[in-house]
Symmetry: C2
């Protein structure tokens, strides 16, 4: 027997419609590639999205067709989020930091029909346009006055013109909520990138989950600035959550340096932000150098990579900004956990609370987790035992796009590739990526804890810990360090810095100093490149 | 083309499983009918729910079968919420405040197979048991020691015994999320009560919606005490939301007097509560008499009927408890709107903010509203124009149970029977029930505003405004007043109290004083009875 409530599909278009009707005058503010600050409202953005949906139809984009973007965070990109998905097509957010060959591979694999791009990426698009097999239309996301005077791209369209050519009379179509809405490719460090194809249903449920009080806690009193790019797993869902709750939206565009970010935070009363650890280093550096203070910032989500505890302390203790340490994956839409205190923690002292916040957090409702041993047997949630982390839930991947890589699931669970502990309260702590874990004499050493200790040293800008060959133990930890400009520290000083902070046998066997640690397209350290670079490194203990 | 994310149905069992795994030691505290305070945890309650699910199967309860309750708010009732719905059967929460004839009508109409009841309601169950056509098993929700020594009910089962007879090894079944989960009957003042049959999907989506920051804002740091009964639209969803977020749950059982409630609020660190306006009068009266102050209470939801502004001011200004004025219906699961400030309101002064909070609020995401004129034409959202309020959304009724009353929808929208204005920010203000509105010379006068003014008078305990016959104007407002004990006020003093607070022609034509205003089974004033009682009242203006 079924219930007798209305059957309404969960569709992305309902978010912009809700924002338009109930928060019509709420602002959407963008720093533009053109150089200025642009202001619009949900009422106007909803109309723009409908015009843009009609423009896409006019370009021949039909249900299920892929429309790609190469764009910063901005209102035009947000209009594409709603126009493309809302009309039944699929938004494919390409990562402009990828190598041009990867962009070509991914756009061809996705069979993108239209490519919309910010002017910043004109050289990239010009470099690849002739080789893209399926793209029929190129759209520069700008107004006529800023269109390039000359370009190698044939029939280059102007975003503002194709929008203006349509009126805003358009009824968002209704369809099955399992319809594909958007497509992101993983930034896999091995093999070709694989596509994750989200549905309207998975996106809407994820939006509910991240807006909740114990996740990103989004309300109509917030001003949200996603530093995390809209090409990085849909800016972790914030462009959807903002419409669901009617929050003010602030987009930094290309201005991701500390000064530009800080000025925008202050000018627009930003209360909530989100980004990967590397992006915050610039902001914190700027604030330190200028003795700056936030007026309105209350909290920021840090994820994508483990947040170094030193960075969390800087935000919380020095700038009074709550850090919400979160964890997820492209395959998880992306949010899985958030490190938010429970009632039982409120009476604890500062350090005990910090220890909870420093974990990757507990699962948001909808995500289930387990850790397993090498035989797939579930391991206890004791905060000590580590194992491979598996997840499941309605916004977690079932299959990669076009079935790439075969069935990725293990008994219905998605293996995350992370190694983690989970404590009795459900707080998960990632000790490593399974491919990065250091196998020393049959025991596992997690590289992340070692990196966090090193990063707490005042002279260290960035640190990566990788496995180096050892004749007796198979692998031993090698610490790769990038020093802060002008700072000095010796190998022995750094190794001594580990004393008392970790089990003695976890202490790295050696330190090498480098000018730069290679970062991937989403800001993660590329340890595979370091392993390759130091594959012949001879440990002094060997 | 469909997305490629996991297909997991939204099932009620997932809530208790989430609470068990991630908030296993969180407390569920109940004042019991037996007289004591009972403490359990989500871990134990999840096990009890599984045992109870097996016990129901052992009693022959199959998928879709209805299991009725006549019970206060308590942990056994909460276990039934999860056991019955989770196993695929339908939980039917009967309202014990109904007349026995209505209980019989509803239980027969629902074809309840099992009836579980608190000992308080033994006399009621004994009075109706022999006449119930479909109930095969009666279960007293108590332990063996408190079972009645003698009863007219044949084969009366003991709740704790049937639970203890099962082990907790039970896998919650998986099924279509549109499966019926629970059944509530409207307390219709005209005609027979009609059943609203919720689904797992509608319940889960509603749970997300009410836990959001701009609704009830529930987190794992909250201690939630629903004063609103679990037989009153599932305590507005709080027993579900508490599991979703891992909040502490506190149940008042039969102790709804001011002293019992206040003591429980204080003893259990309650931060959030919810209830109809009438229930709060006892609590506020107790606190005033005893000069009491809340230590932990932060906010309470008030709905079911419009909250008198005087009560909102008492909570907010005197006791520093935020009142979340909310609106909904049994047909809406029930929450539709909540009066929460937006960012733009934060800079306003106290009175301007209060005016926003005094409305019924803005729609939570998922609920869409419109107001229409007599021809069904949509009216503007200007805060002035009033019309019939219609709603739609995935947790709003499509059809009544067993098709009772035919198609209740108008072009896919559910007509609420309320008359309301909506302002440009989406804040909805109910001016009346459409059947209570006073039609004076072709114009509408909303009775609720008049009642709120009267209730603000220090001598008035309760006031109802009804239409009285007038030879010239057809109808004019008649104010029916119950004075506070020992307080005195005259007709003319009360009418003068309206001066300057409302348009002159809205002022009631007369006042009558009564010893009591009749309340329905959910605490709402029964104006139909007042209209009947005063149908021959001769207005002095006539």
């Amino acid at each position: 027997m079924n219930g007798q409530m209305m059957q309404q599909p969960l569709l992305i278009s309902s978010l912009i419609t809700h924002a338009e009707r109930h928060h019509g005058d709420q602002e959407v503010v963008s720093r533009r590639v053109e150089g200025d600050i642009h202001r619009t409202t949900y009422r106007e953005l909803a109309a723009t999205s409908r015009q843009l949906a009609k423009a896409m139809v006019a370009l021949g984009v039909g249900p299920g067709d892929r429309v790609a973007t190469l764009a910063w965070n901005g209102y035009r990109h947000m209009a594409l989020y709603y126009a493309v998905s809302g009309s039944g097509a699929v938004l494919h957010t390409l990562n402009p930091r990828l190598h041009p060959e990867q962009v070509i591979y991914i756009a061809d694999h996705a069979e993108d029909q239209v490519l919309c791009f910010d002017l910043t990426f004109l050289p990239l698009v010009e470099a690849v346009a002739a080789r893209l097999k399926t793209v029929k239309h190129f759209v520069a996301m700008t107004e006529r006055a800023h269109m390039p005077a000359a370009t190698k791209i044939p029939n280059l369209l102007c975003f503002d013109e194709i929008v203006a050519a349509q009126d805003s009379h358009y009824d968002w179509p209704s369809f099955d909520e399992n319809t594909a809405s958007s497509l992101c490719y993983t930034s896999g460090t091995t093999g070709n990138p694989k596509g994750v194809l989200y549905s309207h249903r998975s996106t809407l449920l994820h939006t509910f989950a991240i807006a909740m009080p114990d996740a990103l806690n989004c309300s109509a009193r917030d001003s949200i600035l996603p530093v995390v790019p809209m090409f990085h797993v849909n800016a972790w869902g914030l462009p959807y959550a903002a419409c669901m709750v009617g929050a003010k939206m602030v987009f930094p565009g290309p201005g991701l340096d500390g000064k530009s970010l800080f000025e925008l935070f202050e000018a627009e009363g930003v209360t909530v932000s989100a980004g990967v650890p590397t992006v915050w280093q610039g902001l914190l550096g700027y604030m330190e150098a200028n003795n700056a203070r936030f007026s309105t910032m209350r909290r920021t989500v840090i994820g994508g990579s483990a947040c170094p505890p030193a960075m969390m302390r800087a935000f919380q203790d020095k700038y009074d900004v709550q850090v919400i340490h979160a964890w997820g994956m492209t395959e998880m839409s992306p949010v899985g956990t958030a490190a938010i205190l429970k009632g039982k923690h409120l009476a604890m002292d500062h350090e005990a609370q910090f220890a909870v916040q420093a974990t990757q957090g507990r699962a948001v409702y909808g995500v289930d987790m387990k850790i397993v041993d090498a035989d797939g047997k579930a391991l206890p949630w004791d905060g000590q035992t580590s194992g491979e982390l598996l997840v499941r839930g309605p916004w977690i991947l079932q299959d990669y796009y076009r079935g790439e890589g075969g069935n990725p699931l293990v008994d219905g669970w998605f293996p995350t590739g992370d190694v983690a502990t989970i404590d009795a309260d459900g707080y998960m702590h990632i000790t490593d990526r399974s491919k990065d874990v250091i196998k020393s004499g049959g025991e596992w050493i997690g590289s992340i804890d070692l990196e966090n200790i090193a990063m707490a040293h005042p002279a260290v800008a960035m640190a990566a810990c990788i496995a180096a060959f050892h004749p007796k133990w198979d692998e031993r930890p090698l610490l790769v360090v990038m020093k802060k400009p002008g700072a000095e520290v010796t190998r022995d000083e750094l190794l001594a810095f580990f004393d008392g902070k970790i089990a003695k046998w976890w202490t790295p066997d050696d330190v090498v100093f480098v000018d730069a640690i290679p970062l991937g397209a989403t800001g993660k350290m590329q340890k595979n490149k370091l392993r390759e670079a130091f594959k012949d490194h001879r440990l002094p203990t060997a």
